[in-house]
């Protein structure tokens, strides 16, 4: 009996194990369309890596712009989503998800991508590669989003760092982009480098450097985060397809007809003002973006003019008012708007500059950072803006990052 049983067991084991052994890759999992990590270590992978960086940066812009518009009260909440507290200035770490994740992914992909490329390009080729310059531009902008808007930050799962660290990193990346872009003969990347660097130098308080960089950029220059219909411009979707966010109750409600910040009141068939998706908030629809594929500006020549105007007021005080208005009016001219009459005093000039900058960069994800830096100047500064008084001045690190990053669980 036992002999028979042993024979049967052996036969069974051979019958089952032999096919497994014979087909070494039987248990392999495969999926067309996916790339394993090691496959990126090749020159052939560079174009795909660069497009990936662009995609991730665009995702970062798209994922943050509606939240930042609410936080800066460029839009008011009139829908059924959970963010009704955001325009009221209440931001908790539970509110932060994709707004943290996407810029961090864009930063990581671009920064590690540059290092991957460095591994298989020689130094000379690396130093004149348009792809490398492009990667540095993307890395710079990703850092700028994090620096402008987050209270503090983290690099690659490390410990908590001040948000200003991102300005330092961004400045370095933009500088590399300028250098390599010039070597590659790519004026667009050089301009993007100067424009990006001007903006981060301004946030970092280097106004002379910022103005100098800004002066390198033509007034008609524009550099966009590209949004296509598949990615979908979220502000368009939430204000046109769904009536979630409204211009009603925001500072631009008081400035109808501004070419830089177009909006309109929506009416229902009975001629009453239409309500938002919450059924109760009047829906004033933004019209800056009207198509799901509308791109979002990362840098513009008109922003450079605003930086130069602000630098004039900061460096020269009342003595810079005329020059500042010269820059502001140059920017207005780009939109076909009439020139402003220069203010007679510095506080008025600052108030007008803050509005002009807000209108110029409306719904581009920049207002919240601007309000933050102006608020942080303190009440004694002519630049001071009290809009964030009693409100959140920045976005916290996401709760998910705090829970998952051992360096933050102290």
């Amino acid at each position: 009996m036992l002999k028979n049983m042993r024979g049967v067991v052996r036969a069974a084991a051979v019958a089952v194990v032999l096919p497994l052994a014979a087909c070494g890759d039987l248990l392999q999992v495969d999926s067309p369309g996916r790339i394993v990590d090691e496959d990126l270590a090749s020159k052939d992978a560079i174009p795909g890596m660069i497009v990936g960086m662009k995609y991730d940066l665009s995702q970062a812009v798209d994922a943050t712009q509606e939240f930042l518009a609410l936080a800066a009260v460029e839009l008011w909440h009139g829908g059924s989503y959970d963010w009704s507290d955001i325009p009221r200035g209440i931001i908790t770490e539970e509110d932060i998800g994709g707004e943290w994740n996407s810029p961090q992914q864009a930063r990581w992909v671009a920064e590690t991508g540059v290092e991957r490329i460095r591994d298989f390009l020689d130094a000379a080729e690396f130093g004149r590669s348009p792809a490398v310059a492009q990667a540095y531009v993307y890395a710079g902008y990703a850092n700028r989003i994090l620096g402008e808007n987050f209270c503090s930050s983290v690099i690659d799962g490390g410990p908590e760092i001040p948000n200003t660290e991102h300005f330092t990193r961004a400045e370095g990346h933009f500088t590399q982009a300028i250098t390599i872009g010039q070597a590659a003969g790519r004026a667009d990347l050089v301009n993007a480098g100067y424009a990006g660097r001007a903006s981060v130098r301004a946030y970092a308080g280097d106004w002379a450097g910022a103005a100098s960089d800004a002066a390198q950029v033509p007034s008609g220059f524009e550099y966009f985060a590209e949004i296509d219909t598949e990615m979908r411009n979220e502000i368009v979707y939430e204000t046109h397809n769904r009536f979630e966010y409204t211009v009603w109750g925001t500072y631009m409600e008081a400035a109808p007809g501004d070419a830089r910040a177009p909006w309109q009141i929506m009416y229902d068939d009975a001629g009453q003002i239409a309500n938002g998706a919450n059924g109760s908030t009047p829906h004033y629809q933004q019209r800056k973006y009207t198509s799901n594929s509308d791109d979002v500006a990362l840098s513009k020549g008109t922003e450079m003019l605003m930086i130069r105007a602000e630098a004039e007021l900061r460096i020269n005080g009342a003595g810079g008012i005329a020059a500042a208005y010269g820059h502001m009016n140059a920017a207005r001219a780009e939109y076909g708007m009439a020139a402003l009459t220069p203010a007679l005093d510095l506080p008025s000039a600052w108030a007008e500059l803050r509005f002009e900058r807000g209108a110029t960069l409306w719904l581009e994800g920049r207002r919240f950072g601007d309000l933050r830096r102006w608020y942080n100047e303190g009440a004694g500064s002519p630049a001071y803006d009290a809009s964030l008084e009693g409100r959140a001045t920045c976005m916290p690190i996401s709760r998910a990052e705090r829970l998952s990053n051992p360096n933050l669980r102290g």
Partner: protein, 1021 residues
Amino acid sequence: MHQYATVRRGFGLACVLTLFGVFNVQPMAAQDTGRITGTVTSAQSSRPIDGAQVSIEGTGMGGLANSQGRFLLLNIPAGTHMVRVTMLGYGTARQEVTVTVGGTATADFRLTETALSLDEIVVTGTAAEVRAKEVGNSLDAITSREIENIPLRNSTDILAGRAPGVTIMTNSGQPGAGGSVKIRGINSISNTKDPLIYVDGIRIFNESTRSGWGARTSTSPLQDISADDIERIEVIKGAAATTLYGTEASSGVIQIFTKKGVSGAPMWTAEIASGFNHQASFLANSGSDPSDLYTKCRDLEYMYSLNIQTSTTNPTFGDPLYFEDPTCPADGTWQELGAIQNYALSVRGGSGDVTYYVSGNFNDVDGTLPTANSRDGGFRSNLGFAPTEILDVALNTSYTRRATRWVPDGNNSNGFLLNVGRGRQNYLKGGKGEDCIDVPSDKTCVTNGYLFDTELFTHNDHFISGLTVQFQPTEAISNRFSVGWDYLNVKNETTRPFGSLRTPDGYFWDEQTQHTKLSLDYAGSFEKSITDRINSTLSWGGQIFRDKHRWTELDVEGFAGPGRPTITSGAEVTYRAEYQVNSTSAGFFLQELVGLDDNLFLTAGMRVDGNSAFGDDYGLQFYPKLSLAWVLSDYDFFPTSTIESFKLRGAVGESGKAPSAFASVRTWTGIGIEGEPGFTPGDPGNSDVGPERTREFEVGFDASALEGRIGAELTYYQAQTMEALILRDLPASLGFLQNRTENVGELKNWGWETQLSAALLRTEGFEWRARANLSFLRSEAIDVDGDPDTESCIYVGLLSEICEGEQVPVLRGTRIMNPDEFADPILVADTTLGPTYPNRLIGLGTSVSIGNNLTIDALMEGQFGHFLPNYTGYQNARRGSWHPCFEIQGKMIDAYRGDATALNDVTALERARCAISRTVNPASEGFSSDYWVESADFWRLRSITLSYNVPESIMKWGQSATVTLAARNLLTITDYTGTDPEVSDFADQTGNVDTGGEFGRRDYYQIPNPRTYMLSVRLTW
């Protein structure tokens, strides 16, 4: 649709003609033969036993008894034969019969009913065919006899209320929607909770597939097995029973056996059924709908009173909101009677070595709203071939095609209940052309009729084929080898044609999901008597499963003009996605069963598995099992005069669940932007990941008493899921945003299941039987993050979380502590509101037989202990369009305008639910769906059936005929105030089978289950 209908009906006719052509051939009468005829009746009730299998031992010849219990065996060689009659639920009977040349021998059989048949052969969870007495775990079997007269469509319907520990939820009242099945609750966090499904020994794809965003529901592969074809369903429930199925089996196994051919003349069965669906109410516990908008849309005076302006910022605050709907149907109601037609034809028979069962069916079901329809049809061919006494070959093949047109439903801005229920605050306004010219200018013109312009289709094609060879070279050795192929294609389409009200340029969405499963399965066994008292059965086997899954999705917008949109005729592709994965699992098992004196059985076994989803560092997995079955009623001391059968059983075993296919590998995903291709981080990968492992212990007994009048089964189980797979966040600063799968969780499930059956009254010509299933299902999350020092929760969707120390999962949110006080609500945030899934199940069935011909069956099911977020009430109330809130909101408006006493008789719960805005009721923190999380306890009369067997004396043709009048969902008893306590908004985000989908539940304007009335005629000849 019309074109499709023509094709389908043509197909149905072809099926019928083919069946006639192939099988309407009578065997030639042989010389030297005779016939055997007789009846098969119940020894206790004397009622005929329909479907009893009559066979002549040692010949392969036989047939089936008809509904009158009568059988006829032709061409039986002259001589003396042993005739055997078997039927599930009855003891076997034998009788020696002598056949003379040209003569007709008569043999009548009276089978003894048994509540517990220990000699019944079962196969699910066992290595080979064994008798029920040898099995150490609980096993539920539902036979065709129990369901043949019930108006059931598929195996999900069959299981509802009939198997203890099995939770069936219908999810949607739309025709074509599939329900969800959970066995012994939820024992996994990140993986699918669906049981494995086998059909005639072949494993098939077992997960629900979404029906597309617009319908917000899903279809289930269990829908694809026609109830007419089902002979028996076996259910085994936990790891102790499913060990031999290894990785993937810890949520239980459902095995469906379809009808087989039997030797004898062809027996044809045709069934025609007709009926209708009727939506009695759009509210679960009310005779009317939430606002009467569904049924009174031409009653203008009434319509004018339906909405209140609750926006304090609007100049008309507090006033009614006037609107009219010129697209409302002329009879003033959106509701329709949904016509139902079912046709089924089958033939079974065989001669010599070959047996066959072939069937075809076609079903056409309309819903209770315009355009809602589901048509399905298919065929089954089960062929058996036994060329020698030691070889049996079975080839079972089925194909089902279903075309469903859905009504836009659920959380969908084009949804029917959402738009109609919200009155003036809907999404469709203004109409086209002259729609609104008769609507007064001070009224808003809403045009919900254009909701039906949206065309939502799901086409399911399901092909299952399996070849099974059984080879038994000696009495002691048996071998079974199966090759199976399962192919499921689900195609979803959403079309908003050019000229649509909300999408004037048109929109087209196409999604296809294909699952293919190839399986190879071998099992062998060797029986040996070691001594006079000890028997041994050694079993071994192995399986390989190769799965291919492909999912594609494409959105196209902007069409140039009218006409049917296609992927290429749109101006732009607005979304595209593809997911493909091919994976393999393989394993083998070894099991030894030792029997002592044929009443004590000890089984020990081991399963070894490999899986492509395991990490490189993980290797093979071992799952052990041990079980004991002890038939105490075989001993002399046992009081068999009262309790004729009694078996104690106990089992302990393990099984598992594999991680998702890419859990172990770091990958990048292809993307495109502005036409350029690139890649972005995908799965972060974890080379240490392995399966989660569930260890279960169960004990219980099966008993039959008082000559089969009473049957009882009781089981206690306790399961622990260790190394549970948890999708953990990685720091986003490390670049990968997808979760990493880690084996860090722990869950516990335990509970009781009992099934009682009784013949309450049994006299000549009258029998009243009753059956009760009771299940108590408990669970607790022990650890959800691998950190014993924290009490953590994991969000699993739709307000549900899995929290340490709580049932799995629970609804979490803000609780009103003083719901019945006349005061502002006292709120406690972040608290548990209640379990998401029922923890008590009750199924009550009864059957009354009067005379030989009339039977009344009823099945009532209750599900208790769970809660459901009523988003229908929440979203309507905040918009001032929920009737139960109108009076309260009027008082809140008075309070806002300064009446300090207006809210004196308004409770805290009413103030919270019927709040009109944050400014009016700041204490409530404004609107919150948390206040609408309600108990979803319910009783539902699943079915009630009156069936009448036409007496032979008045039959003009054929062997038997049965006329059945049936109703489903005739009565629902619940305090739940939403649309239906059984519905849920489908929440799988990707259609990706690896995610397992979200398993939170909520009612978000889902169309409730209708009442169904059916009249059917079944004819056998």
